[in-house]
Amino acid sequence: MLYSSIGYYALVLGLGISLILVYFSIKNFQNSSTLNTKILSFTFLQFFLVVISFVCLIISFVLSDFSNETVFNNSHTTKPLFYKIAGTWGNHEGSLLLWLLVLTLFILIFFLKTKNQPLKYKLLTLIFQQIIIIGFFLFLIQTSNPFNFIFPTPEEGMGLNPILQDPALAIHPPILYLGYVGSSIIFSSALAATYLNLVSKVWASHIKKWIIASWVFLTLGILLGSIWAYYELGWGGFWFWDPVENVSLMPWLALTTLLHCIIVLEKKQVLTSWVIILSISTFTLSMCGTFLVRSGILNSVHTFANDPERGLFILVFLFSLIFISLFIFFFFHKSSPNNSNSFFWLSKEISIIINNWFMMYFLSVVLIGTIYPIFLEVLSSQKISVGPPFYHKLIIPFLIPFLMAMAIGPKLKWIKSNIVDKSYLALFFAISIVLSFLIVKKFSTNLLINTILVSSALYLFFMTLRDFFIRKYSNISQNIAHFGFSLLILSILLNNLFSSEIITNLKVGETFTSSKTKIVFKSINQKQEKNYKSIIANFSIENINEKIEDLSPELRIYNQPNIVTSEADIKTTLLLDKFIVINIVQNQDYFNVRYQVKPFMLWIWISVILISFGGLLSFFKREHEK
């Protein structure tokens, strides 16, 4: 009770401080050339208040204070302490509070770290950021207050959805939010810079750090979500083109493009329009994602509560931001005279522009696949569902030139480059084609397209690998990230080509035999845990070469709320994953067993970690080493 009140009033005070901050900033912006010291203290105070509010919510969760509606709906006394704390942001209200916490933290860091930029720029960024913060405060207090009372106080809570009780998922939202919210700083700062006509090399090198940091967090956040989906949802895959996954992929694509553009801007003072538009769209796409999953307009794991009122609020807020940014872009942006038309055809600039257009294409495919069903339903009340085949057909063919451009692009020089002494490019390409032909020929039916695909991925792989040895002095972070990307595409392709699956129904004691594999259902154990009952099935799998492996998938029957989840058992080795999952079949004494062999799964995770590591390196790289 007490903590809920403290938390709530801290939020209201925080909103008040936003208004004060906007007032002071505008006054300071007009009158003075020195920073009003009050602004910094108020920014700190605001952050502090949101921290108090957040801590209060955590305490309510830890103490299982069911007079708080959020705690009541999402917690239970028997839940382990770790998930009581993680449950704080495992729901709509709490996750918005987390979002607000990161927003106020980031603007504080921005103020402390930005020293050499003009005062007006800093103040304007603060004003834009405060507009976003005010929007979130209002949203939280008006429609999703995490501190609502219930009376009479219930005896027991409703419990956290068991599929969310998982370590990867406990840290997935905070990491992802660091990425999303980082893009809000980029958004505000790009608008401020456009308004003041400051989009320049200096600004680029200052905002680059923010872009890289957000990008690293976003990449890791998506990775964590994907790992979770792999072993918890039991579908045996890592990416399903689910709308929720798509809405995190779209900002990532925009941000990746932005990352490349900002490098060009930093060096050459070109592509300013690209940079501004991408900065705006990265954040609006993040917001759009919030709108899509929180309004209930789409169905997903993240649809915590369907409330059209919430949807309407975010929608209006989102479009106000879009119109403000469009207004600023069209009326204040002055494009520099030497723009993209004047590039030499064979130069780094052109290769980055090519990269941009490919990324924009991928982005629009994902965007259309995600929102077209909604529009169609509105216009013709037809329901369609866009699945993996749509994305695969539209994206995969374009991956080929994209990968090729990615292999050659970094080799080119700024401004102008020539083809002399580039024979190794062709040599490597020949090697890749031969190699992939040999790999694909053995296993696949669709020879031509698969060979081309694998060889373009291999080509990038070899080219980046070569660079580790040859270009000693040069851009190591970029190289690691590109190498990681080639590894990612390669692993995904090989994973798709060589996966195999057995689905069967088995009773205890029965054996399933196929030409390559023997699955023995040995026994079943039961165990009572704190908040669930678990049924563990023991299987042994025998390969052709008589290697026996024991796997024990599990069914968990949670008591609060009453939900059954299946925990896959996965044996991960360097080259392949063995994945087994069981499901209950109603009113039958046998279980549905699904056994999959998935090659290179580990490498998909490793390569994404490599990609983010590349970003991390460039974040810590000192200025003079560039």
């Binding site: 509606e69 059209p308 949807g311 929608l315 479009f319 469009l326 339903e377 509105v378």
Partner: protein
């Protein structure tokens, strides 16, 4: 001229997108589990709320009227909202509202009914929640429409104007 048309063009695209999203919000598609219908009621045994009398599935639904079986609890927030709809059925001669009081404290439940009125002809006191499980209830509130010991309709979550209208049209 070209430069002035572009912003207007882009702005109007965004306005159209806004309108489409806005319309899309109105028909949100909330997922509801596949509802079992035309099923025989389960057999159960329980105590009545006010009298401590033990009843079973045979003598509970003994008339040929429609029955509306509502699973509720005093600690359940949405139950408060749907309570008015249940009260509307109280006077109807064609239907009898009965309740399962799910995992509750008697004193809280009694206070709840004093505060909001009692629409139920009979209430089964289901302290450990076993009877609700036998009915296969997903949670509170949940409502079953029963005729001749067969479940003809099932509503997961609170009743609202739309579902109340549907029930009225079925029992006509």
């Amino acid at each position: 001229m070209k430069n002035k048309l572009l912003p207007i063009f882009i702005a109007s695209i965004f306005i159209i997108v806004f309108i489409l999203f806005y319309k899309g919000l109105q028909n949100t598609n909330i997922y509801t589990p596949e509802t079992k219908t035309s099923n025989k009621i389960p057999s159960f045994k329980g105590d009545l709320f006010y009298s401590d009398e033990t009843i079973n599935s045979l003598n509970f639904f003994n008339s040929d009227k429609f029955y509306l079986l509502n699973v509720w609890s005093s600690w359940c927030v949405p139950c408060r909202k749907e309570h008015t709809f249940l009260m509307n059925f109280k006077e109807s001669k064609k239907i009898e509202v009965v309740g399962i009081n799910y995992k509750d404290k008697k004193i809280n439940a009694a206070n709840f009914l004093i505060e909001l009125g009692n629409p139920y002809k009979k209430i089964i006191f289901d302290q450990d929640g076993i009877i609700a499980i036998e009915w296969g209830a997903y949670g509170v509130p949940e409502t079953f429409l029963i005729k001749d010991r067969v479940i003809i309709k099932r509503y997961i979550g609170p009743l609202d104007e739309k579902t109340a209208k549907e029930i009225k049209s079925i029992i006509k």
